[in-house]
Amino acid sequence: MRPELELTEKIERYLKGELSSTEKAEFEKQISNDTKLQQEVKLQQDIMNGVSRSVLKASARHAYGKFIKGKNFLKWGSTGLSVIVASTALIYFIAKHHPVTNHFQQPLPELNELGTKQWSDADKYLPAQKFTLNTTKDTVIQTDGGIVMAVPANCFLDANGKPIAGPVELEVKEALDPASIMKAGLSSKSGDKLLESAGMFYVNARKGGQSLNIDPKNGIIAQVPTDTVKSGMQLFQGRRMSDGSIDWVNPKPIMHDLVPVDIHTLNFYPPQYLDTLAKWGYDIKNKAFTDSLYYSYASLFVSLPDSTSHGSTFMPQRANGWYKDTTLTMMIHDTIFEIFPQCGINPAKIKAIWNDQFQKTFIATKEFESRLKYIHQYAYEDLLDLYVNNLDKNLSDIDSMAADMFKRQGMEEDQGMEKVFRDFAKRGDGKVNISSELFARLKSFYTIQSKIYMEAETKTQNEFWGKQKQMDSTAQAKKVEHSNKDVQRMAQNFKEELDSNMEDAYRQIGRKHAFVIAKSGYTVGITNTGWNNLDKYVMESTIYRTTLDYTDPQTGKKAIITYKPVSFEISNYKHYDQVFVYLLPDKLASFMRLNDSAGVFKEKLDGIMTYNMACVAYKDDSIFFYSETSISAKEYKDIQLKPIAASNLTSKLNEVSSMRQQSDITYEVGFIQMQMVEQKRQKLLEEKKEFTFKVGKLLFPCWGMMMGYSEPRTDTTSLRSMLK
C-alpha cells in the first residue's frame, strides 16, 4: 500500500475510534504538532460526513417509502378450485365441503358407464342428482354440495365419436366432506398409499339409458367449493374394485382453465368499499351509484403538469407513461386534494377492465377478483397492468411474475406480498383462451380507455366545481349589493325621520325650521346660534330614539317628540330557520328591519308616525307570515304566524306597505329567499366535500393520512348575524 493510503487508513481508524488508547494518544500528539496532518484529518472527516449524508438520504427515502405504504394486509378466504373433466365419465376426487348423508341404498341402472355391472359401495349409498341438459347450448349447473359444472354445448359423444343431439341426462354423486366419504364407504387410498382426501364426485351422462362419452377436447369444467386451496392437489380417477371399494388411479395435476362468469357479478372495488358504504346506510345494490362514486375519484389521479419527478430507487416509477409524477392534484373548490399513486389504484383503470369488453377473459373470473383485492390493498398499479397485459397467459404464471417483481424490490412489506402471490401461483390457476387479435385489442383498449375515463371524470368534476365557484361569486356580489342597499336605506330612513321630527318640533314651538339639513343626512351644518339648541336636541332624540321634552327658553312653549318601546314576541320561534320582523312607518320611504334577540324583536316608535308591522319566517321551503296595521307601543306576545304561498308573499306585504315602500320590501324578501337557496347550496357543498373525503379515505387509506386532514369547516355565520 502506498504511504498516503496507509495514512488514510490510520486517519480512518482514528475517526472511527478504532485505535487503542496508546495509539490514539500518540496519534493525537502527532496531529497537534503537524498542521498538514491536521488538514488531512479535517478533510477526511468532511468526506466521511459527506458519505454519511448519502447514507442518511437513502435511509430517509427508504423510511418515506415505508411510511407511505405502511399498511396491513388482510387475508381473504379462497374461492374455489376448478378442474376440467375431460375424460369419460368417472368418479373424481378433489376437495371437500357440505355434508350429504343418506344411508339408504340408491336405485342403480343395470350397467355402469363402462358398460359393466360392477358397482361400488359409493354408487350404492350416495344419492344421485340428475340434471336434464339441452346439448346444443352451454349449460351451467350447481349441485347440492356446491359443485359448479360448466357443460359446453355438444360435449357429449356417442360411441362413434359424434356429438349427441337432444336432451341428455347428467347424473352427479358427491361426497365432499370426510363424514360423507366414510359413510359412502369410499377410501382415500391409491394403491397402498393413503391420500389426503378432500372430496370426491361422480359424473355420468346418459341418453336413453346409454352412457355417453365426453369430448376430450371440449370437457366439462367442474368447480369444487373449498375453504382453503392446498397446493399439490391432484385429480384422481376412481377404479371400482371387486370388494366394493374404489381405488384411486391416474393422478393428474390440477392445471385447469378458468371459468369466466358475468363480469358485472364480480366485485372489483377496493375491498372495504361496499361493506363500509352499507354500514353507512347506502344502497350498495345500486351499482350506478357505487360506480359513479368510485369512478369520480379518477379525477384526483391527474398529475400536475409542471412538477419534476423525484425518483428514488425505493419507490418504483410507473413506467407506462400516463403519469410521471408522484403528486397528483385536483382543485375541489379552493381546497387542493391530492392522491398519491402509492395510496391506491386509479379507478379509471378499474373502469377500463370492469366492462363487457373483458367478458370471457380471465379478468371476468373469481380467481382474478381474489387477486385484485391484494392489488388494491397494496396500491400497486404496475401489478394490475401486469395482469391485464398478459391476458393470454396462465394466471398462475402471472402470479409468479408478480411474486418475482416483489422479490426484486426487496422491501420488508414486499416479502409479505411476494408470499401472497407465490401462494396464488401454487393454486395452478390457468387461463381463459383468447385469440391474439382480441388480446391485442383489449390491451390497447385498457390503456386508451383508462386515460379517457380519467379525463372524462376530471372534466365532469372541473365543470361542477367551476360552476359552483361561479355561483359563489354571484352570491357574494348580491350580498355586497344588499348590504350597500341596507346602509342606504338606514341613512334615508334616518334623514326622513329627522326631517319629520324637526318639522314637528318647530311646529310645536310655533316657528318654522329654517335650516336645511345637509344632504348627507349625518352631519348637520348649523350656522345660526339662536335655534341651535332645539336642532341639537331633535337630532339626539332621533339618533338615540329617546323622547324629547323641550321647553323653548324664549317663548316657554314645549316641543315633545315621544319614542315609546314596542316589542314582538314570536310564538314557536325556535321552530323556524329564520324570522324577520319589519316595521313600515307611514312617513318613511322604506321599511325598518328589527333586531332579533332570541325571538323578541324590539324597537321604539316615533309618536308622530303610524306603523304597520309584518313578520316573515322561513322553515325549509315553507314561508310563514303575520301582519298588523297601525300598531301601538306595547308588548305584543305570542304572535302566531300562518303558512303562506311564496307567490302570495309580495301581495300580502304590499297590503301593509305604502307605494313608496313596495319596491324596497320586494327586493328585501327576494334577497332573503335567494339567500335561503344559497345557504342550502353551501350546506350541500360542504356535505359533498365531507363525503368526498370520507369515502376517499376509505378507498385510499393513506391519502387521509397524508392530507393531515382536519374536519371541514362549516360556515356557522348565519344569515341573521350577517344582517346585523
Binding site: M1, E4, L5, T8, E9, E12, Q39, E40, L43, Q44, D46, I47, M48, N49, G50, V51, S52, R53, S54, V55, L56, K57, A58, S59, A60, R61, H62, A63, Y64, K66, F67, G70, L304, S307, T308, H310, T326, T327, I336, E338, M705, M706, M707, G708
Partner: protein, 182 residues
C-alpha cells in the same frame, strides 16, 4: 415509540426505524409548506433535510433534549423553508408564526450552515463517479460485510475492495482540498 427510543435508535445507527417514526410528523410539515407556497416535492426535500440535521444534532456529544422531538423537527423545517423561500424570491418572507426563541433559531441556523458544508463533500463524492461513491456508501453504511461488498462490487478479493476504498477516499480528499483552496 417515545422520543427517548427514537434518540436511542439514531445513536445506534438504526436510522430507518427512527426516520419511519419521525415521518409521522410529515403531514403537519407538508401542510405548512403547501400553505406557504411550496409543492409536495419541496415538502419531501425539506423534511428529508430536516431529518438529516436532526440526526447530526442528536449525535453531537452535548445533545440534550429540551423539547419534544416533533416540535424541534417542525422548527427545523420551518427554518429551512423560510431559508429556501428567501433564496428563491430574494425577498424577506412574512407570515410564519414567529414563536421560535432566538437561541433555538440561532442553533438551527448553525446546524444548517454546517450541513451545507457537508453538501460540498457530498458533491465531491458524486463527481468521483458512481462506483467510488457506492463503494464508500456501502462501507460506511455498516449494513454489509466486507466480503459481500467485494462480491457485489465485483472485486476479486476483500483486500482489493479495501484498497480501492482508500483510493477513492484519497481521491475525494484531494478534490475537496482543491475546492477549499479556491
Amino acid at each position: 415509540m417515545s422520543d427517548t427510543q427514537v434518540i436511542e435508535h439514531i445513536k445506534k445507527g438504526n436510522t430507518d426505524k427512527a426516520f419511519l417514526t419521525l415521518y409521522k410528523q410529515f403531514p403537519m410539515v407538508r401542510k405548512m409548506i403547501l400553505a406557504k407556497g411550496g409543492k409536495m416535492e419541496d415538502a419531501e426535500d425539506i423534511y428529508q433535510e430536516a431529518l438529516i440535521i436532526l440526526y447530526r444534532k442528536v449525535n453531537e456529544s452535548d445533545f440534550r433534549l429540551t423539547a419534544k422531538l416533533s416540535t424541534y423537527l417542525y422548527s427545523i423545517c420551518r427554518f429551512l423553508w423560510k431559508d429556501e423561500l428567501k433564496k428563491r424570491n430574494k425577498m424577506p418572507v412574512t407570515g410564519f408564526d414567529e414563536n421560535t426563541d432566538a437561541t433555538e433559531e440561532a442553533a438551527i441556523a448553525e446546524a444548517v450552515e454546517k450541513e451545507s458544508k457537508i453538501k460540498i463533500a457530498e458533491k465531491v463524492l458524486t463527481e468521483l463517479g458512481d462506483k467510488c461513491r457506492e463503494l464508500l456508501v456501502l462501507f460506511y453504511s455498516g449494513t454489509m460485510k466486507l466480503k459481500d461488498i467485494a462480491a457485489k462490487m465485483g472485486y476479486t478479493s476483500e483486500n482489493s475492495a479495501k484498497n480501492q476504498k482508500y483510493k477513492c477516499l484519497e481521491g475525494a480528499k484531494r478534490k475537496l482540498a482543491e475546492i477549499y483552496q479556491q
